[in-house]
């Protein structure tokens, strides 16, 4: 059941030009960054050779690529998730789901899974760039995997926020703006508390956790942060759908 909902979501996504445009534009921008980083690397290479334990290709090309990817995702995810539930509310298709023998949990998980399938394609597409470096050089596979993990967790978190805000309104644009706003806030929430390292705002900040993983430091605190984050917003979405039947 969850899978049927997810596959329907993916099919509808690819029927609209939005998904293709998002994939194409992000790929173009990230490819640009990728080439710029490689260029930088060639310039820096002679100096690096004189250093002891100098940063390698993974640090100088892949890590910045992942950092930029996370910023691009911050902008793109709300656009992809905005229609998840709000469009169904607006067009009335939600009545099909509501009058079918499916639980609200199944609806939410199906939609979430559908969006994750789409973004898995995104990750696959992005991953081809750093992986292509294997042709000419050695990479730190561990760090590379950590980078992918960070991107995956970020997407999973972004989508859960987008899904929740999409369930709150029947206007997709409002959902997009609100998700972008909330994600950006969570991204920069620790700026005021830059000095002290362990306060609440630092812990809440998304970037704090994803950066650590991109650097190759996989800490259970960070993983748990992401899991709690995702579960919270999925739970809120289920609750929201439940109460939608009561209030609308």
């Amino acid at each position: 059941m969850i899978l049927s909902i997810a596959l329907r979501e993916v099919r509808s996504l690819f029927m609209s030009p939005l998904a293709w445009t998002v994939l194409a534009v992000t790929q173009f921008i990230l490819a640009w960054i990728f080439f710029a980083q490689i260029d930088n690397f060639f310039v820096l290479q002679p100096q690096l050779q004189s250093l002891k334990s100098a940063p390698g290709v993974t640090d100088l090309v892949a890590a910045p690529l992942f950092n930029i990817t996370s910023i691009v995702l911050l902008m793109v995810t709300p656009l992809m998730t905005m229609r998840l539930i709000s469009e169904e509310r607006r067009s009335g298709t939600i009545q099909l789901l509501m009058s079918s023998p499916v639980s609200m949990t199944q609806i939410v998980l199906g939609k979430y899974l559908g969006m994750m399938i789409f973004f898995s394609l995104f990750i696959l597409q992005i991953s081809l760039m750093p992986l292509s470096l294997y042709i000419g050089t050695e990479l730190d596979s561990g760090k590379l995997m950590a980078g992918f993990l960070a991107i995956f967790l970020l997407i999973a978190a972004f989508v859960s926020v987008g899904l929740y805000l999409s369930s709150l309104t029947d206007n997709p644009t409002v959902a997009a703006v609100a998700s972008f706003g909330l994600l950006l806030l969570l991204w920069i929430i620790n700026t005021s508390a830059a000095e002290s390292t362990d306060n609440l705002f630092n812990y809440l900040s998304l970037i704090q956790h994803s950066n650590a993983i991109i650097r190759g430091v996989i800490n259970t605190t960070d993983i748990i942060y992401f899991l709690l984050f995702i579960l919270t917003f999925l739970g809120l979405s289920i609750r929201q759908l439940d109460s939608y039947r009561l209030q609308h």
Binding site: M15, S16, S99, S100, P101
Partner: protein, 327 residues
């Protein structure tokens, strides 16, 4: 009376209430639906028809009340209850970017149709709704009438016990309307159908039971058979060229009531007893002849569904009228 004893109760709704903010849109709604019933749900715009349909279909929660569908409680056991249900909302819930086949298969999956049965269900639903030729077309490219049919196909693909159709013939051309009505009659033979509409001839053409809702309250319910029977024993309007003397019609056996409309015309209601009514007719003709009145027209008036509808929905305090207890 319909033969309710033979059939099973599919829907039993008791004490349904629903508020939007402070306005109560559904007041203490109560009704039953049996197999073989096609129940016409009538009401003027904004009377609470669609809200009631949404509540029965489980897409809107009532503030109070209980609904069981084929024995399953919609609130305690929503999954089982909804499995018994096919629902076409006012606006068909179509994913317009999908093809008809993709959409109907998805609907079947949502309704737990087993994998091996999906193909059969799809073919049957398409055939019944006249969609066999458009399976590969994108729903967005179909005309309004075809989209409406896809909406109906979606509601019947899993052969549910109860089919709820909210204004299914809106936007269709007369031929399509005929086809859809035929389809509804067919569906009514195996399933229970609730048909919400404000088109009265539609109810008379398809339904075997009717109920009228006004300001959220059920003000009338009856089965079509007794409605038609009632119609027969109604009044006749006599119109003359000359002014008439109504007192001449008093005290005639077989006339239950007279009502003077203007100087030249009056309504006469006859007794339900055919023999007495016939005698009264004969006596009337004698009076007309004796008085040398010129009878211009003699119109038997039946109390049609339309009249009942207008009477119930336009009177100010229709809310206080007790509903009839037939069915």
């Amino acid at each position: 009376m319909p033969n309710t004893t033979m059939s099973t109760t599919l829907i039993k709704a008791t004490g349904i209430n629903r508020y939007y903010g402070n306005t109560q849109v559904v007041k203490n709604l109560e009704f039953e639906l049996n197999t073989g019933d096609i129940l016409g749900f009538l009401g003027p715009n904004g009377a609470g028809k669609s809200t009631s349909m949404q509540i029965i279909s489980g897409s809107l929660a009532p503030d109070a009340g209980q609904i069981t569908i084929n024995g399953f409680d919609l609130i305690d056991n929503p999954t089982e209850a909804k499995r018994q249900l096919g629902y076409l909302p006012e606006q068909p819930p179509l994913y317009k970017e999908l093809t008809v086949d993709e959409y109907l298969i998805y609907s079947a999956q949502l309704r737990n149709v087993e994998k091996h049965a999906i193909n059969d269900a799809l073919t049957k639903a398409k055939q019944r709704c006249g969609l066999s030729d458009v399976g590969n077309k994108m729903i967005n490219n179909l005309s309004k009438g075809y989209q409406q049919r896809v909406g109906i196909a979606q509601a019947i693909i899993h052969s549910p016990a109860v089919i709820i159709l909210d204004e299914p013939t809106v936007g269709l051309d007369p031929i399509q309307i005929q086809e859809i009505r035929q389809l509804i009659i067919e569906l009514g033979q195996e399933h229970g159908v609730i048909l919400s509409t404000h088109i009265l001839p539609e109810v008379q053409a398809v339904c075997n039971r009717v109920q009228i809702i006004q300001q959220g309250e059920l003000v009338y319910h009856n089965d079509m058979q007794s409605l038609n029977a009632e119609n027969q024993s109604s009044h006749t309007t006599f119109t003359f060229r000359e002014p008439i003397k109504p007192q001449l019609f008093e005290n005639i056996d077989g006339i239950s009531a007279t009502e003077l409309l203007d100087a030249q015309s009056l309504n006469i209601s006859f007794s339900a007893d055919t023999e007495k009514a016939d005698a009264a007719h004969r006596q009337l003709l004698k009076i007309f002849a004796d008085q040398n009145w010129t009878l211009i027209s003699m119109l038997p008036k039946t109390r049609s569904l339309e009249q009942i509808f207008i009477e119930l929905t336009t009177s100010e305090n229709s809310a206080s009228k007790p509903s009839e207890t037939a069915a």
